[in-house]
């Protein structure tokens, strides 16, 4: 075998190993989750587990419905807070901001992405929670606090992805619009934003994925009562919070139930990921 052929083979094996690592990791996680989670779910009973509204491990009652609802509420709240701010910021950065402003704003957004979630949690405890307690109602540890905090946390994801989508819109669309006498604002909002629609949707879906999986910051501000909240000022427990709070001391079926919670979370994230690819594909077809 010649030298170059050996080199080529070595390179190929290296690439295959590298690629295999991530595939293997996903496969192992799946196997671990399902092997440990499914039997527990079966023991508890799938309907009782998914739709039971009482979570009382000490009495052997494992219903995670409040946590599923909690995760959905918190994520929806984060979208309500984060999507308008994020998308508008992306539009601003892509089409309105001058060099000086984006030179300040862009690193700011990148920094936001790099802050550890526990630091966000501190910010929530020190600023958002007291603000709600003093100016609104309740203890402050609430669905609202978690939603606002998560809304801020998903901003960098949404801004970056949506801005890339807007930047990728061909210049000729913009020129065509202003050549018809459209103002800059109208060209941006009525031609460029619709043209970047699938990319902006992808940004939102990625934000959702980030929000639903976030744990630490949520645990710190959400109150974590395993009950379906009656209002945005009530505490809420998400699936992620459920796992991280009890995993340390759980054993036997309790432990299995927590892993099964992870299975449900995994399914949610997988659906979001599928949605993301579907949107991306649709964008490419157009």
């Amino acid at each position: 075998m010649s030298g170059s052929a050996i080199k080529e083979n070595v390179a190929r094996v290296l690439f295959i190993i590298a690629a295999a690592i991530s595939i293997l990791a996903v496969a192992l996680i799946c196997v671990f989750l399902f092997v440990n989670g499914i039997p527990a779910m079966a023991t508890i009973g799938v309907p009782e587990f998914l739709f039971g509204t009482t979570w009382k491990p000490t009495s052997g009652i494992y219903g995670i419905f409040p946590m599923i609802v909690g995760s959905i509420y918190v994520t929806a709240g984060a979208i309500l807070v984060g999507v308008p701010a994020g998308v508008l910021t992306a539009i601003f950065l892509s089409r309105f901001a001058n060099e000086r402003i984006s030179a300040i704003l862009r690193p700011g957004v990148e920094l936001l992405a790099g802050i550890p979630s526990v630091v966000y949690g501190f910010f929530g405890i020190m600023v958002i929670v007291p603000f709600i307690r003093i100016n609104m109602t309740g203890r402050g540890f609430s669905l609202l606090a978690a939603a606002v905090l998560l809304g801020i946390m998903i901003l960098p994801t949404i801004i970056t992805v949506a801005k890339n989508a807007l930047d990728a819109v061909p210049k000729s669309y913009y020129e065509g619009a202003v050549a018809l006498g459209a103002t800059h604002e109208r060209a941006v909002f009525n031609v460029l934003v619709p043209a970047a629609f699938s990319g902006i949707m992808a940004a939102i879906v990625l934000g959702v994925g980030r929000a639903i999986g976030e744990t630490m910051a949520v645990v710190m501000v959400a109150g974590n009562q395993p009950v379906i909240p009656g209002s945005v000022f009530d505490g809420v427990r998400t699936m992620t919070a459920n796992i991280v709070m009890e995993m340390g001391y759980a054993a036997d079926l309790h432990r299995g139930a927590l892993i099964a919670t992870g299975v449900v979370l995994f399914v949610f994230v997988m659906l979001i990921s599928l949605l993301f690819s579907a949107i991306k594909k649709r964008g490419e077809v157009r």
Partner: protein, 274 residues
């Protein structure tokens, strides 16, 4: 010499010339002592030129001669270019395009069709309705009338009338370009700028658009940039020849191609350079 022979047998040209014989010609747009710089590059040098109403004026010249630059100055699309500086006067109906007319109003009155077809990624209907909606027309029945009329004027109505709600990106290149002409017509412009609008198209689509431009001249003042001298002869009644940012010669298309005054024009139209 080929160019001259072509002219002699092209009926479009003769028809165009006859149509204007004996009529008083109104000036629609006028450029006086126009200088344009892109940064340090002097792209247009002291250009003075008149565009008569309801005629087709062709701007010809080799690549980089400034003809497209001049076109983009007429509707101030050059404003979008960083470091572009314009001095001199550009007038539409005697009013200064840079001082007396709002830029968006100018661009409504002076429509533009680009080199590459650039329909928006939306339905055919919404493409045409975009301009009128921009200028405040919201009623559906009014828009319906404008959309149909514009598509008819651009000679594409019959091809798209059954698929108005379909995406404009599904049309062929030639259809897209005629759609872009319709889109420009929908805002009721007075002047239509064509920036090498057939250079990306096949010969059949090109012929359709050339025929269309001939018809449009009865309602609009048309100014077209073209690389193709035969096209200038076929379609235009006036021609201006540009070289290295200077306007060398302008006049009736007929005269300019048969009896050019300047030796540089003679060299160019006989194909000796460019």
């Amino acid at each position: 010499m080929e160019a001259v022979e072509e002219k002699m047998v092209t009926p479009t040209f003769i028809r165009g010339a006859e149509a204007h014989r004996g009529e008083e010609v109104q000036t629609k747009m006028e450029v006086r002592n126009l200088d344009l710089h892109y940064g340090n590059f002097h792209a247009l040098k002291d250009v003075t030129l008149v565009f008569p109403e309801n005629e087709v004026t062709a701007l010809i010249g080799p690549s980089g001669c400034g003809k497209s630059t001049l076109l983009k100055t007429l509707n101030r699309m050059n404003d979008l270019v960083d470091g572009c500086k314009v001095t001199g006067a550009i007038e539409l109906d005697g009013k200064d395009a840079y001082k007396d007319i709002d830029v968006n109003d100018l661009r409504r009155r002076v429509g533009m069709v680009f080199q590459q077809p650039n329909p928006f990624p939306m339905s055919i209907y919404d493409n045409i309705a975009f301009g009128p909606r921009t200028h405040g027309i919201k009623k559906k029945d009014e828009l319906d009338v404008i959309v149909e009329q514009s598509l008819r004027d651009a000679a594409i109505w019959d091809e798209v009338k059954d698929r108005l709600k379909k995406s404009a990106l599904g049309l062929s290149g030639g259809q897209q370009q005629r759609l872009c002409i319709a889109r420009a017509l929908a805002v009721r412009p007075e002047v239509l700028l064509l920036d090498e609008s057939t250079s990306a198209l096949d010969p059949i689509s090109t012929a359709k658009i050339e025929e269309l431009v001939g018809q449009l001249a009865s309602k609009y003042t048309v100014i077209m940039v073209t690389h193709n001298m035969l096209q200038a002869i076929r379609v235009s009644t006036k021609t201006a020849f540009f070289l290295l940012g200077e306007m060398v010669e302008a006049g009736d298309t007929d005269t300019l191609f048969t009896h050019p005054q300047d030796s540089r024009t003679a060299d160019y139209v006989s194909g000796r350079f460019g």
